[in-house]
Amino acid sequence: MSCSINLRKISYSNDKKELFKSIDLNLGHEEKIAIIGSNGSGKSTLLKIIAGLIEPSEGYLEIFHNKIKSLKAFNKYRNEIAYLPQDVSNHFLCPIVIEDVIFSLRARGESEEQALEKAEKILEKLQISHLKDRVIFDLSGGEQKIVALAGLLILEPKILLLDEPTNALDEESEKKIVKILNSIKKSMIIVSHHKSFIDSLTPTIYKLDNNDLKRLDVVDEQNRK
């Protein structure tokens, strides 16, 4: 299987502690991987490193088998990798839903008409066309997450990095997100605490624990908890 992302001996430590050491991970084409771990174990930091937002202390990344030596070198792949932050309110860069959804296309130089056409399609696919003229910060948490996903998917990225996509959502909204994510055929790394959510998405689960990333056995229910 061809790989989308490879992590090679990645370590990260901040001035307080070492979060993880010498981590290896391979994300295959259209493969979905979930990362779990206790609070403060470094899951979100690891995702930011994979998204090219912070540099690892040691080790390097390969994107589509190309070695990435610095954050600057990452810019070439920005359109291929979409990142959803844990606090989704940080994702939004425009006040109205439709404006935010087309933001990345406009920033890439597409005309307003072309961008709007694509946005209409993606909003319809995610069943949120009725929200297009609403102010983002008036939406519920679940609606905001789906709008943020629309803003990522419109770029047709090859890899999705999702940090706690169902954080603080009710059961109904979680089901909606699961349905959407299951319908997307892309490589994904999902960081989450929700066991039921992860189980409904992928059998491939890694646990970040004691500075190390370990793959959990599919049948090892005890470890998943």
Partner: protein, 216 residues
């Protein structure tokens, strides 16, 4: 181009400039009355806001009145005319239409972006401040003049400051990952409301009269 927002901003600038820098005239009430007429259902809200901001103006006017009562009265009238006009234009606004207006009027992209993100951060901090106030109530905090009260307030402001820094850092990550380069893209709209059109005409009339009196 967002014509509605840009015309509203233009009306606001024009009226404020006229009232601030020309001699007071009864004609200045015309645009104000038009604006109030279009917002007649929200008059209570508008005047409530005007009274609130007047607390600061009254203090200023009292200080000026010690030196010159006429000047203090003129200052009071001018500021209230400008405020009432602007409140009637923007009382329903969440601020984002003003950003749109700046963008449509051709302000530099960086200025518009800075204005937009400042607004977002202010909204976030306001929301956070209200939540913190509710938490204090829920946790049985009663303010008094003790050291504990001041310590608690100090801690809260410190925490809000740290949260604002964290939020800014996270937003920076979003900007990087979404390809933000100084500019926010707003949708264009060509509709102009009746209020904006009539206000603009009335302001042109007032401006014409002021200029006529100035030069003839």
């Amino acid at each position: 181009m967002n014509k509605k927002e840009s015309l509203t901003l233009l009306n606001s600038f024009c009226y404020s400039f006229l009232v601030a820098f020309s001699s007071l005239e009864i004609l200045f009430l015309l645009p104000l009355c038009i604006a109030l007429f279009f917002e007649k259902e929200h008059l209570k809200q508008i005047f409530k806001k005007l009274i609130l901001v007047n607390f600061f103006i009254v203090v200023l006017v009292i200080f000026v009145s010690f030196q010159n009562i006429d000047e203090a009265l003129t200052l009071f009238l001018r500021t209230n005319l400008i405020l009432l006009f602007n409140i009637s234009l923007f009382h329903k606004s969440k601020g984002y239409d003003i950003v749109r207006g700046f963008d449509a009027l051709g302000f530099p992209a960086k200025v518009v972006s800075v204005f937009y993100f400042s607004l977002t951060l202010i909204n976030f901090l306001t929301k956070d401040f209200i939540e913190t106030k509710n938490t204090l109530k829920a946790r049985g905090f009663k303010r008094d003049t003790s050291l504990f009260t001041y310590q608690t307030y100090g801690n809260i402001f410190g925490m809000i400051f740290i949260k604002a820094l964290k939020k800014s850092e996270d937003m920076k990550y979003s900007m990087v990952s979404r390809g933000f380069e100084d500019r926010i893209y707003f949708l264009t709209s060509s509709t102009i409301g009746n209020m904006q059109k009539i206000l603009f005409v009335s302001l042109v009339l007032v401006l014409g009269k002021v200029l006529y009196e100035l030069f003839y």
